[in-house]
């Protein structure tokens, strides 16, 4: 029985994950502790929290596994810099300095930071970590596995065959041909922050029409064998420090959208154009992913597909793959991006030390537990008056039914970018004003951004087509809302008639399940609007200090902290 710590770091969204005896014990992102969104630094606090939760010390670890090969990464940076010289001259000091200054020595730094012998610090390959994070946590004994992201060591896309605990690579597409870098370049072109604004582009796409599709076909070529190629002249991955696209892209599509300008999709033609560009990008991305998935199906003949990598966070594309690629079942883990690589690395390390494959992931609640007692003490110290309702779930449900916005902090925080009921803001999905209030006042984000519903799994099929399925517990896909139900759920339906639904069971999210039962008793409909408990640009709340800071800074009506309830305006 081995104890293996997996680590991802030094690109974005660093994380640690602990597997003991083949069982996933904990998995956490460093941002939840450092309070820096997508913090890429070595996840010292997350690693320490994983060990503390398991009650083991660094000396008890059999291995620490880093999620990618630092030597191969340096090789790729050096060869791409040399290949594109002298255009890379401006980027050279930063890129090489970053590699030689810290990234090359990451295995040594991990040994020192965690306090283990250097010989116990191993590494795996970037896309193998992604593949393991999806397949080894999936419910499938065998599956095709697609990993699609910006870039790992050299590969940007890989196809795997998973059987039992084994993964065998069948093919790959290498840098610079990358759907992740394509989406990132357009994220920058549309004025959003790369590695953070991609999901805003996805939300914006639903408001546009794909009228730039012909232009997109010049930017990315979809091949008949399911592969794809980017046209290099539109990109500047190795020569442009911040945006990743070249002036040729602006010549093709018009000038980039200035970062930070407020959106006005109704009145501003430039914003309409931005939405149309986003729609065109989303369409070509979906078709590229469909091509890859169909090729995976044809090659492996497997009935199930697992997806991972940052591009697998595109919930709209995942839904199309599930409908159109020919697989019977599709699974995308809750942390499909680089953070998830930490869990994949730990699972590979545990498997290689002889431990069995873990059972299918039933919950994303793999973080630190919320200390309700400490939160109540802190609230009192701050002059607030927490109350102790006899039935906390019923108290939350009554307030949601009355139109209030309620924050919930209970249980272990979530693994991955989505709040799934442990650190959530909940509201009535039947009130359109819930969305406006949350977007404009509480979360202060773009008005086109959609909110998601959480529904009791047993009641999901009546409202959301094709649910529940293997992705809906982790909110990694979307579902079409039954037309007869659309008028009842205006706050959680996207403009295209879909919703990024979470189906909730007592095993997966016990606290949210209890709240949904109580909401069902109040309203007859066990559905709530569920969005992440964070302010603009902040990581999701982790512990009592973050929770109280959120409550004091944001105009929510109430907050459940453990079993205690805080209410706005209470004496």
């Amino acid at each position: 029985m081995a104890a293996v710590l997996g680590i991802s770091a030094y690109y974005h969204d660093a994380a640690a994950a602990l597997v003991v005896g083949g069982r996933v014990v904990a998995a956490m992102q460093e941002e939840r502790f450092s309070r820096l969104k997508n913090d890429p630094a070595l996840p010292r606090q997350a690693a320490a929290a994983c060990l503390a939760l398991a009650g083991i010390s660094p000396g008890d670890l059999d291995a620490v596994v880093y999620y990618e090969n630092p030597y191969a990464k340096l090789e790729r940076v050096m060869t791409s810099m040399a290949r594109d010289f002298p255009r890379t001259f401006g980027q050279f000091p930063r890129a090489i300095g970053s590699q030689l200054g810290s990234k090359l020595w990451v295995l040594d730094q991990l040994a020192e930071a965690i306090g283990v012998e250097r010989r116990k610090v191993l590494f795996t390959e970037h896309h193998e970590s992604h593949a393991a994070s999806a397949f080894l946590t999936s419910p499938y004994p065998e599956a095709a596995v697609l990993t699609v992201d910006g870039v790992g060591e050299q590969a940007t896309t890989a196809l795997w065959e998973g059987r039992g605990a084994a993964l065998r690579q069948l093919g790959a597409i290498d840098f610079p041909h990358s759907l992740g870098l394509l989406y990132a370049a357009f994220t920058a072109y549309l004025g959003f922050e790369v590695n953070e604004g991609e999901y805003k582009v996805m939300g914006l796409a639903a408001h546009g029409a794909p009228r730039f599709r012909a232009e997109m076909d010049r930017v990315v070529r979809l091949e008949s064998d399911g592969s794809f190629r980017l046209e290099p002249r539109f990109f500047a991955h190795t020569t442009e420090r911040d945006v990743g696209f070249s002036p040729a892209l602006e010549a093709l599509l018009g000038p980039r959208r200035p970062p930070g300008r407020p959106f006005d999709l109704d009145a501003n033609p430039d914003d309409r154009r931005a939405a149309d560009v986003a729609a065109s990008l989303q369409q070509v991305t979906e078709e590229a992913l469909l091509g890859l998935a169909r090729a995976a199906r044809a090659r492996t003949k497997m009935p199930a597909l697992c997806l991972a990598g940052g591009v697998a966070l595109n919930a709209v594309a995942n839904a199309r793959i599930a409908r159109e690629a020919g697989f019977e079942r599709v699974f995308v883990p809750p942390a499909a991006g680089d953070a998830g690589g930490a869990l994949g690395a730990a699972l590979i390390g545990a498997r290689d030390l002889g431990d069995p494959r873990p059972p299918a992931l039933a919950t994303a609640a793999l973080g630190e537990p919320f200390d309700g007692g400490a939160a109540a003490d802190l609230a009192r110290a701050l002059g607030l008056t927490p109350t102790a309702p006899p039935d906390p779930a019923a108290a939350v449900a009554q307030r949601i039914a009355a139109g209030q916005v309620v924050a919930v902090c209970r249980g272990r925080f979530e693994w991955g970018p989505r709040s799934l009921g442990q650190r959530s803001l909940l509201a009535d999905p039947g009130r359109a004003e819930s969305r406006e209030r949350l977007n404009r006042v509480v979360k202060q984000r773009e008005p086109f951004r959609p909110f998601a519903p959480a529904v009791a799994a047993a009641a999901a099929a009546a409202t959301f087509a094709g649910t529940p399925n293997d992705m809906t517990p982790f909110m990694t896909t979307v579902a079409r809302v039954a037309p007869a139900r659309a008028a009842a759920l205006p706050a959680v339906i996207h403009v295209d008639g879909t919703a990024r639904v979470q189906t909730v069971t007592a095993d997966g999210a016990p606290d949210l399940s209890t709240i949904l039962e109580a909401v069902g008793r109040e309203t007859g409909d066990p559905i709530v609007l569920n969005t992440s408990l964070n302010g603009a640009g902040e990581p999701i709340v982790a512990g009592p200090v973050d929770a109280l800071a959120f409550f004091l800074q944001h105009p929510v009506d109430a907050m459940l902290i453990g079993d205690a309830l805080l209410e706005r305006g209470a004496p």
Partner: protein, 60 residues
């Protein structure tokens, strides 16, 4: 970790890097890498020395 332990860890990493380049037959990168590593050592060693900074600055 002791100084000796740190040096051992760094040596393990340099060994791993050279093995990787040899395995991949990327021998042409080795001289490039040696120069960069020497520059990196120079940068680290002279981090607090203001009178070396102008010369290092001109390297990049």
């Amino acid at each position: 970790m002791t100084l000796l332990g740190r040096l051992g860890a760094r040596a393990r990493t340099v060994g791993g890097l050279l093995r990787h380049f040899a395995h991949r037959r990327r021998f042409f990168l080795v001289p490039f890498l040696v120069v960069l590593l020497l520059a990196a050592i120079l940068l680290l060693a002279s981090g607090g020395l203001a009178y070396v900074a102008p010369f290092i600055y001109t390297l990049f």
